[in-house]
Assembly symmetry: C2
Homo-oligomer: 459 residues x 2
């Protein structure tokens, strides 16, 4: 029944958007009332509000609070078609997107917004021991591992095993790593208080390992410093200039420059049963695929280099946006500047790519992408965050409780859906007042587990 969209006699230009993250969603919204047929293709059935994914991983929020069903968002927009499917390739000659288990979808204009995943810098064998955090399934995995570590410690008798079970390691001190570490220490010291009889969860250690010299590298140095101080006040052990060289099922090996000048690197081991990977980001493999087909170049992180108007050289009908694009911001009279990999960047690119499609259809010339920097903010934990806002009078930088309230307001404001905003506020109020984390549920096994081999049960 895909023929409806595929109908070559359709009078309206066909726009296909791959990915319904911040960039794809914004592009769709910009096109929803235009005289075009839009098909949005996503691997999942929901738009995920990724900035709060760490809250699902740390039992603070339920998954539906940060995930909006894609179809519902476009309900009653008859020109927008939603397809839940996996993209296997793009035929740039035939102008069609190939799908797994479904007919190809032809396009006149294509926006590729497939996003990024985490990168283990060529050490993919670390993935089972140090899961990353990009999808709801990742968040459930990390939620299960952290809560189960406390459960296992309560049953354990060997002190060394207990110590390893209560040692949580977060690798990478970007925004996600900082949020994870700050929240894990709060869980250990406050949320679980009084609930165990054989261990004291407050004895748990949370280590934040960062390869570079400071946390939150995208922030100005003064705020990085404040963030580290706030993390340490909460109880997180921050290790900067620390490089992970090995991970196995029982811990990891870390290398730091020697404290004695001139001497080589020092290396030490941390025994831990719960390691979270928040270090590297790599663009979706779709980037390389499209680059190869169009002759575009990709950078080391797999991001596709785009023209100033976000299209591909020689392929004005294809735009690449969001985390998948190595895009630059163009301000007349200034040299181009790279766009940071943040959600406002993706949204703005989505808007520009959509507008440029409408320009092209109307026979007008396209506009170069210009990134408007509304600032940078990161939360650390209870009452702690850092905020860096550009103002006409120069940057406004603040931290602590006011920054935390600002962070909270911004995140609730941008969350989709009134119900979600209300429930997130309620859950946060209960976390703030009673240290209670409302989603401390590990889903566990299906009841017929063991009846059949797992492979046979996959739906």
């Amino acid at each position: 029944m895909l023929n409806a969209t595929a109908n070559p006699t359709s009078p309206r230009p066909r726009v296909v958007i791959i990915g319904c993250g911040f960039g794809g969603l914004e592009a769709t919204r910009k096109l929803q009332h235009a005289d075009v047929d839009v098909t949005v293709i996503d691997r999942t059935n929901h738009h995920l509000f990724q900035p709060l994914l760490y809250q699902v991983a740390t039992s603070g929020l339920a998954a539906p609070s940060i995930a909006a069903p894609t179809r519902s968002l476009f309900r009653n927009l008859p020109r927008v078609t939603t397809l839940m499917a996996e993209v296997t390739g793009v035929d740039v000659q035939a102008r069609s997107v190939q799908l797994k288990d479904a007919a190809a979808v032809p396009y006149d204009h294509l926006i590729v917004a497939a996003g990024a995943t985490h990168s283990y810098f060529g050490r993919d064998e670390w993935a089972p021991m140090a899961p990353g955090l990009k999808t709801l399934a990742d968040a459930f995995d990390i939620r299960g591992r952290t809560l189960m570590a406390f459960e296992a410690a309560e049953k354990e008798t060997d002190p060394a095993r207990i110590k390893a079970l209560l040692t949580f390691v977060v690798i990478g001190a970007g925004p996600t790593g900082v949020e994870m570490a700050g929240t894990l220490i709060e869980i250990a010291r406050h949320s679980l208080k009084g609930e165990f009889r054989h261990i004291d969860p407050a004895h748990a250690q949370v280590l934040l390992i960062e390869g570079s010299p400071r946390v939150l590298q995208a922030m100005p140095e003064s705020l990085s410093h404040k963030a580290q101080v706030q993390l340490e006040q909460l109880g997180v052990q921050v290790r900067v200039n620390a490089r992970v060289v090995h991970i196995d099922a029982t811990g990891l090996q870390v290398e730091t420059p020697s404290s004695t000048p001139g001497a080589g690197a020092e290396s030490y081991r941390i025994d831990s049963s719960c390691i979270v990977w928040a270090a590297g980001v790599a663009a979706s493999p779709l980037g390389k695929l499209i680059a190869t087909a169009t002759g575009a170049t990709v950078d080391r992180a797999g991001r596709v280099s785009v023209a100033p108007d976000l299209s591909l050289p020689g392929h004005p009908e294809i735009s690449v946006i969001g985390d998948l694009a190595a895009a630059q911001s163009h301000v007349p009279g200034q040299p181009p500047k790279p766009v940071p990999g943040v959600s406002p960047g993706a949204k703005q690119m989505g808007r520009t790519a959509a507008e440029n499609i409408l320009h092209r259809i109307a026979g007008r010339s396209t506009q170069a992408f210009r990134y408007r920097d509304y600032g940078n903010l990161a939360t650390i934990g209870r009452n702690s965050a850092v905020v860096d806002l550009p103002t006409p009078l120069g940057p406004l930088r603040f931290s602590g409780r006011v920054a935390w309230l600002f962070w909270l307001f911004v995140h609730v404001y941008f969350l989709i859906g009134f119900r979600n905003r209300l429930i997130v506020l309620m859950d946060w109020a209960s976390a703030y007042l009673h240290f209670r984390r409302n989603a401390r549920v590990v889903v566990g096994n299906k009841t017929d587990e063991g009846r059949q081999t797992p492979a046979a049960r996959t739906p």
Copy 2:
């Protein structure tokens, strides 16, 4: 560190409770301030409010809304220890409960409240095609299957395949089957309206297959009849006297008595990609294990026959309660009556078993279990439910909107936690007013899926 509980010099009697469902939770509450040490062992980390599990399966509620972390419930009760562990056996001679991956836990008094699972009547090979609904993982599985059937239909071009994808079959017309069928038809006809471009979800069929002559067998016949009428008004196709004889990956085979008197059975096939099993219940295998060890008998459903005071013959230190017990209600001057497998029954047994332990410790004689019937109610869908309440003036029976409001009030009242009550009410209000189901989220895959073999990734 289990030695704390295992300490043989402990002055307080040690009570171990296996399972933290309605029965185990109630028993723990009854004992929480008594002069005993209580250890609650459960396979999961949460007490599940099973009567609303179908709402998680049908995208109406998020999992945390109906699951309370067991540990949190007993926080600040220093004499109650919670262990998340799987029971592998009970050594009735040594009086200790054996656990997987943890030291055995000795007891002076044992309450076994391990509950029931679904039974495929010896056809366990049907499990992968027709999942049952007992755990949160089951609910997520069914949620994924139902939502994915609509997604697959939207991408499908073969009309026969589309029809099979949009045919939902619920096997078993007890309360769970009736709720599932009533909610699925509401999703198809209302919740998904306007969201698809190639299919009309309202064309979906929901079939409710029941082996006996009527739905809701535990209800009086007049209410069964009303329930069937209400189901049919919602659009559910009810097939009573219909026996499932075969299930495979693409559908099922159903046998009914011939409509021509005297002729044999008629058999027909239903093509369906989404089958839910709500037919049989079997007691936890722990029942048989304990029966074998103590010489108690089990019935056909695997339930253990208990003495009037819920203990086992010859083993007054062991009580079996809830769905695992074939218990009888004892009213002086009346013949004993079997206790129905409902949550009030389990709760009342939990209370009696706990009280009897305190009686025994005090050297008093134990009391026989008496079931107080507060009535029976089942919801069917929007504005439809049936209620049967015993009153001193005879049974009060009603159905329709008033019954539905009554059902709603009772379920919200018994749900644990103020936050959950409020959020469930909000989610139900939004479902009622806008047909919006707030948990339409399929969790999907981990981002590193494919990087490693699935087996290597299991935490």
